[in-house]
């Protein structure tokens, strides 16, 4: 058995994790198709009222039932899924760029500067992400919500990437490479490319899950997405007055939200209970 084979065997990912990751990727693809093709798959345009009797139980005619003003819950859920997923995708970008990428780069800064930026991330990270997002939305405006959710997720993402990169910089391999005359900038470029070539999808999926949860919770609490736009969080909030008797008005949008977050978590390879 060669050294290469031994090292590959020792570092082979657990089978369960690989299977879950594949499930996440497939699920995320299906949800993406549903979101992009919502106008095609939905049986009614967004917000069309009086399609059926109010608060009708799920049936063959209305698989997800109807809500208090006769809207088809299936169509509304698809439209809300498309809206929420597209906004979460927008919000994911600052979390990846200013969080993960910037954190990785900042670990290479001079110690004082890197340490100060890390301290700022610690202070911002001491406030729960949800409350930080609501704070950003309240000081700006509702349309800022996707970016606010992304920016709120940035401190934790930054701290994570910074700590990981700082550990790599101190590794023996980095020391040996520098002793042989390889400049620090070349090492950084190499590490940056390897880090994000292998992990960019996982990083993006993790950020997407974090922003999804923050954005939908903020709109449930009344911040962010406002009518006539309808996201999943707002849909669930609107169903609060009826859902004890008409459970389908909240259950199906909640299920769509949970599935989207679940597939993003699995695709990101998050451990059980790990927060995005």
């Amino acid at each position: 058995m060669s050294l290469v084979t031994i090292s590959e065997t020792r570092h082979a990912p657990p089978v369960l994790k690989t299977v879950l990751r594949a499930v996440g990727l497939v699920g995320l693809s299906v949800m993406a198709i549903l979101a992009v093709g919502a106008d095609v798959f939905a049986r009614a345009p967004l917000g069309e009222i009086n399609l059926g009797p109010p608060l009708a139980f799920p049936s063959a005619a209305f698989p997800f039932g109807t809500d208090e003003i006769g809207r088809d819950v299936l169509s509304e859920t698809l439209h809300a899924l498309a809206y929420t997923a597209s906004r979460a995708f927008m919000g994911m970008l600052p979390a990846v760029l200013l969080g993960e990428l910037a954190g990785f780069a900042a670990a290479r800064f001079p110690k004082v500067i890197g340490g100060f930026i890390r301290w700022v991330a610690d202070v911002l990270g001491a406030v729960p992400t949800l409350l930080l997002a609501i704070l950003a939305i309240a000081t700006q405006h509702a349309a800022f919500a996707p970016l606010a959710a992304g920016l709120a997720a940035t401190p934790l993402a930054f701290a994570r990437a910074f700590d990981r990169a700082a550990g790599e910089e101190r590794s023996a391999l980095a020391d040996y490479a520098q002793m042989t005359g390889i400049p620090a900038a070349t090492l950084f470029r190499r590490d940056f490319i390897y880090e994000f070539r292998e992990r960019i999808f996982s990083i993006a999926a993790r950020a997407f899950a974090a922003v999804m949860i923050t954005l939908s919770t903020a709109s449930f609490l009344g911040f962010g997405i406002t009518p006539p736009a309808r996201g999943l969080g707002l849909m669930i909030a609107a169903a609060r007055q009826d859902y004890f008797t008409a459970w389908w008005t909240a259950a199906f949008p909640a299920l769509a939200l949970i599935l989207l977050v679940l597939f993003a978590r699995l695709a990101a390879g998050l451990e059980e209970g790990e927060r995005p």
Binding site: L16, L20, V123, L130, F220, I236, L266, E272, R275
Partner: protein, 288 residues
């Protein structure tokens, strides 16, 4: 121990200082003319920071009373909720973390845990409320007066369960991470070869490491529970500090929001400090 004390105290003080600057930056928005930005805003922030050092946190623009009084009235509810939820988080999270730390245990319940972890707190709280009403016939009620006034099942159970489950997720993650790390450590097999029973190895060597790992992540657990508390307080009408923060932001009551932000950040930094000391007391170093 002295170096640890100094280092952790420095982290606590610097973190609290940073949180105070953040709170002052928020509170400065309530000063007329400060929102123009630039020098007036910076002066307003410095002024607010100076006032904070004299325990002047401004006044509520909604009720007119001092921000300190508004927050002091709401804080006991949040503190009570977090305290009771910590018991639930420990009771559920510790056994779960120990089970998930073993490879055989993980395979069985990993899919279930992943689904539960993907459920946003507001969905979980609504689901619990629905089960409580439709299955058990117990309607959630607002706490009337003090924390333990009224029926415990109607006022306390659902908020405590919601926040407790969120905390349990964070507790089990901290435990099972450490357990997974030390699962294949060579010293475990070495101790077995020396004839030590598995139970003694777990009791004397493994358990302190695992709980040290939990204490090292106490700040993360506190953060998860405070975030869940904000949602639970909203859903169940709990008059706590977290929902006071949300309502203050909705009404642009910046002074009150700033003080609550400072308190919540202080909770996290205090949890980090306590956790670091507990971790050091257990194993004499900070667990990875």
């Amino acid at each position: 121990m002295g170096r640890l004390l100094f280092r952790q105290a420095l982290r606590f003080v610097s973190g609290l200082g940073g949180a105070a600057v953040l709170a002052a930056a928020l509170a400065a928005l309530s000063i007329p003319g400060a929102t123009a930005g630039g020098v007036p805003y910076v002066l307003a922030v410095l002024g607010r920071l100076g006032a904070m050092t004299q325990f002047d946190f401004g006044s509520s623009q909604v009720s007119g009373e001092s921000a300190l009084e508004s927050v002091a009235a709401a804080l006991p509810y949040t503190a009570g909720l977090l305290g009771l939820s910590a018991i639930v988080a420990t009771a559920i999270g510790v056994p779960l973390g120990l089970v998930l730390g073993r490879a055989s245990g993980r395979r069985l319940i990993v899919p279930f845990i992943q689904v539960v972890a993907a459920t946003p707190v507001f969905c979980a709280s609504l689901a619990l409320a629905w089960i409580s009403v439709t299955v058990f016939g117990i309607h959630p009620m607002l706490p009337a007066g003090g924390l333990f006034n009224g029926s415990v099942a109607q006022t306390l159970a659902l908020p405590v369960l919601t926040v407790g489950l969120a905390g349990a997720g964070a507790v089990q993650l901290a435990l099972h991470r450490v357990a997974a790390e030390i699962q294949d450590q060579p010293w475990r097999s070495g101790l077995r070869l020396m004839g030590l029973p598995q139970f003694e190895i777990d009791r004397l060597y493994v358990a302190p490491q695992m709980f040290a790992g939990l204490f090292a992540n106490l700040g993360e657990v506190a953060l998860a529970m405070v975030s869940a508390a904000a949602v639970a307080e909203w859903v169940f009408g709990w008059p706590g500090a977290a929902i006071l923060f949300v309502k203050s932001l909705a009404f642009a009551d910046w002074d009150v929001a700033a003080l609550v932000l400072l308190v919540l950040a202080a909770i996290k930094f205090a949890a980090d400090l306590v956790g670091a000391f507990a971790c050091d007391a257990l194993i004499g170093e900070r667990a990875a």
